[in-house]
Amino acid sequence: MLQTSNYSLVLSLQFLLLSYDLFVNSFSELLRMAPVIQLVLFIIQDIAVLFNIIIIFLMFFNTFVFQAGLVNVLFRKFKGTIILTATYFALSISLHVWVMNLRWKDSNRFVWTDGLQTLFVFQRLAAVLYYYLYKRTAVRLGDPRFYQDSLWLRKEFMQVRR
C-alpha cells in the first residue's frame, strides 16, 4: 500500500520538475545572455523530463494492478501519457540541439527559419499536453484502488483472460 507521506513527496517532486520545465519553456528565450546559460537550462530540462518518466514508471511498478500482472490494463489506461511524454522528450531534445547549434556562436542572433518555428510550435504544444496528461496521471495514481484488490480489478482480469 502506498504511504501518504511517500506519495506526497513523490508528487511534490513531480510537480517541482514540471514547474521547472514550464519555467524553462516560458523564459529560456529571455535568458540567453550567454549561450552557456541556455545550454545548462536545456540540459537540466531534458534530465527533468527523463526523471519524470522514470518516476512515473516506478509508480506504475508500485501499483497492485502491475504487480498482479495486468500491465496491459495499466498501459491502456495511461497510454496517452506514455506516448506523449516520449514524443515531448524527443521534440525537446531536437529543438534544443537545433537552437543551441544556431545560437552557440552568437546568442543574440536572429536564428528563426520556418522549420525552426514549426518545431518550436509543436514542441511547446506537446509541452502543454504533456503537463496536463502527466499531472493527471500522477494525481490519479494516488487513488488507493490501484493499490488493492477490488471487484473492478477482477473484472479487468476476467476480460484479459477472455
Binding site: L2, Q3, T4, Y7, S8, L11, F15, L22, F23, N25, S26, F27, E29, L30, R76, K77, K79, G80, N108, F110, W112, Q117, F120, V121, R124, L125, A127, V128, Y131, Y132, L133, K135, R136, V139, R140, G142, D143, P144, R145, S150, L151, W152, K155
Partner: protein, 408 residues
Amino acid sequence: MRADSGLRLENHLRPPRALPPVPSAIQDDTPLSHPKKKKPRTKTTLGSASLEGFVQTATRRPSEGSEPPNKEPVEHPEAPVQRRQKKTKLPLELETAFTQKTSSPSVLRNENGIDVEPAEEPVIQKPRRKTKKTQLAELQYANELGVEDEDIITDEQSNPEQQSVFTVPTGVSQPVGKVFVEKSRRFHATDRAELIKTTENIDVSMDMTPSWTTRDVALSVHRAFRMVGLFSHGFLAGCAVWNIVVIYVLAGDQLSNLSNLLQQYKTLAYPFQSLLYLLLALSTISAFDRIDFAKTSVAIRNFLALDPTALASFLYFTALILSLSQQMTSDRIHLYTPSSVNGSLWAAGIEEQVLQPWIVVNLVVALLVGLSWLFLSYRPDMDLSEELMFSSDVEEYPDKDKGIKASS
C-alpha cells in the same frame, strides 16, 4: 493493531472508574511511534519492603475491566509463570532510581496487541522502559496527567478487591501533584497542567494522520491547481487586453506610427510573449482539467453540445497555437534596430508588412482569451476530472472503461 483497536473500543465502553490511578484509562489511542526526547516519570512513594505485596495486586488489576473478554482464557494459564518471572526480576527493579510508575501496565497492554508472547513481556519491557524514551510513553502521560485532583494522594494504597486474572507485574502507584520529567538525565518536577497542554497537541496530530489518505493528497493537489488555474484565467485575460491596448495606443491612428511602436515596444515584446505562454499553458491545462480532456469521447460530446467549458478549452488551445506562431515575429521585434543601422533585420518599408499580421493575431488572441474567461466564469464550479477521477464508487468503473475504450 487489531488488538489495540479492540482495547480502544473496550475503553470507551467502560464506565468511569471510582478509584484513581491505574493504567486502564491510559491506553486508549496511543499509536506506536518513534522515540522522543523526553519521557516523564513519576516516582512512587513505595518502599521496597512492600514491593513483594503490591506486585501481585497490581498485576491482577489491569485485566479487571479493560481487557477484552476473549483474551482472558489465553492469558490466564500464563499468570503463574509471569509472577515467577517477576519475582526473579525484582532485584533488578530495585536497583533503578525510579520504580513503578502509573503508566506501566498500559505500556504492556498496548504492546500486547503486537507482542506474540505476553508471558515474556515483563522481562522485556522493564529494561526497555528505562532506556528507551518513547513518544508512546509521552502520549500516555497526556492521558495519565488528566487524573482528578482528589485522586492525588501521597499515602500508599492498595486495592485488594481489584482482583484479576491478567497478570502484568507492576507496582501500585498513585498520582502525585507534580510530574517528574526527565530532562538532560535528571528528573525535574513539572506542573501537570502544563504538560497536558503540550502533549495533547501531539495527540491530536497523531489522530489526524491515519485519515489523510493518498486520495486526499491527490484531491487537494488537484483543487490547489484549480485555484492556480482560476487565477491565471483572469490574469491572462487582463494581460492580453492590456497588451493589445498598449499596441494600438503606441501604433497611433490607423497604425500610422509603426516605428514608434517598434522602438517603444521592443523591450516589452519578448517578456510579454514569454508571460503569455506561461499563462496560456496554465490556463489551457486548467481548462482541460475541467472538461477532463483525456476522456476524448466525453470532451468531444461536451464540445458538440456547445458546453461553455469545452468551448473555452478549445479557444485557449487555439489562442496558444496562434500565440506560439508569433514567436519569430516577437524575436524580430525584440532585436529591432532602425533600418539605417548596419545589419538591421528591419529593412525600410517592411514594418507594416510584418507588423500588420502580428497585431491582428495579438488582437485575436486577446479576444479568444477574454471569451474563454467569460465562458469559464459562466460555470466556475464545473470540474469533470474531479467528478470522474475521484468518485469512490466501484460502479463508476464500467462507465469509465467505456469511455476509455471509446477514446482508444
